[in-house]
């Protein structure tokens, strides 16, 4: 049995009358890549924001190494957060800073490294995501895909032990997507970090995941290794994997 670094128990969240998560249970294995798939608007980003304490659950627990982060005071929570890196779906780069300053930000805030060391480390991760040459530009001056890669660089620079990626490859060309996939796999292997990835790319999901979990209607309806997931006979999952508009998941509500 491998151990689970994150355990989510009966997590519920609603916005107004809309129930987004309904008593959701999910385990994230340590040192592996877990990919969460599910429909657009299904609550994947909301789930990710709960894991890092940006949103507070209405009920339920989120245990990170046994610590329930929903109940921790801000100071303790920040200690836990320093273990995380996160790539936001829209990048969330600071638009008043250059790409370089954005990427160096976590090191500047939380380490005592010298300017030179920070500069070197920044160069290194920027090279990893293929952004050399854009260091001095501002987020508004680069493309969406470049912003995503800069966000990725910022998420990994402080060598966190858990990294959350909200759609790391959406909006990238196929070659860059494959490169980012490899990068994630590579970082994961080298540093033995835990990765949680939200993805719409079924092919890449099956290629990189150790574990896949499908979110539907506020719950995890299927989970397992890619091999297990291929065989599970859940009509929702099958329709999603095959990408068919015919099946139990209705794109337009008929009722």
């Amino acid at each position: 049995m491998e151990d689970n670094i994150i355990k989510i128990r009966k997590l519920s969240k609603r916005f107004g009358t809309q129930e987004v998560l309904k008593e959701l249970d999910l385990d994230i294995p340590k040192g592996q890549i877990t990919v969460i798939i599910g429909r657009s608007g299904g609550g994947k980003s909301v789930l990710l924001k709960h894991i890092i304490g940006l949103l507070k659950p209405d009920s339920g627990e989120i245990l990170i190494d046994g610590i329930d982060i929903a109940k921790e005071p801000e100071d303790k929570l920040n200690e836990v957060r320093k273990r995380f890196g996160m790539l936001f779906q829209e990048g969330a780069l600071f638009d008043s800073m250059t790409i370089e300053e954005n990427v160096a930000f976590p090191l500047l805030e939380h380490t005592n490294l010298s300017d030179k060391e920070i500069e070197e480390r920044t160069k290194e991760v920027l090279a990893m995501v293929g952004l050399i040459g854009a260091e001095k530009k501002y987020p508004s001056e680069i493309s969406g895909g470049m912003r995503k890669r800069a966000g990725l660089a910022r998420a990994i620079i402080a060598k966190p032990d858990i990294i959350l990626f909200d759609e790391p490859t959406s909006g990238l060309d196929p070659i860059m997507s494959a490169h980012i996939d490899n990068l994630i796999v590579d970082i994961q292997k080298r540093l033995n970090v835990t990765c949680i990835i939200i993805s719409h790319d079924i092919q890449s999901t099956f290629r990189i995941a150790h574990k896949i979990a499908m979110l539907y209607d506020g719950k995890i309806i299927a989970e397992g290794t890619p091999d297990v997931m291929r065989t599970i006979d859940n009509p929702y999952l099958r329709q999603f994997i095959e990408g068919s508009s015919q099946g139990p998941i209705q794109v337009v509500d008929n009722e």
Partner: protein, 256 residues
Amino acid sequence: MNRIIEWLGKTFIDFLSEAGRMLLLLIEVVKQTIKPPLKLERIFIQMEFIGVKSLFVVILVSLFTGMVLALQTYTGFRRFSAESMVGAIVALSLCRELGPVLTSIMVTARAGSAMAAEIGTMRVTEQIDALTVMAVNPVKYLIVPRILASVLVIPVLTIISDYTGIVGGYIVGVKLLNINEGVYINRTIDLLEMSDIFNGLFKSVVFALLLSLIGCYKGYYTKGGARGVGKATTEAVVLSCVVIFIADYILTSFLF
């Protein structure tokens, strides 16, 4: 009739809950200010933005206010041959009242609105979430420097405003309306007391706190895209102006 009562009740409750949240934010600001480390660099950047870049508009507005004040008091005072008092009245009104109020209104228009817009944009584009995720307290990082900078720099702007206004009054009174220079200046020095200036400066500190708190508050709680940012900015300016005038009355009745 019921509708009206309902509306009044709702408005009142909204007002109270907003005031409550603002107070909570202020408490958090105080907590985060005391908690080390305090990065001076961020405060200096804000001081430059709020202070140095507001300087021109404050000087311009104060100069003309002093000038028109001299013109108006002259017209009135001439009717009972009290022209010699013009200088003193101009100086008193400026130091006690117009210097702090005009400066704060100008800074609200320039910097208060910018605070709401900048922080609001950061909110709706998840930049504030990004700060939180990176274990950087957004109140400490974004709001504390803006409020401290305002409180430090607006009194200085007020002194400059008082001075320029008095110069404006002098130009009109002595050079244009030919009031005797010696009388004009002596009367001003006789009547203006140090306490007038200090009370005005105290007012400016309170206004600075209010306008920066409101600007940051409106930005911090922005919801919903570009429209939300626009709304937050407008509300910050309107609310700051109203609150400044109300606080001005309250302070005047207590201080003087």
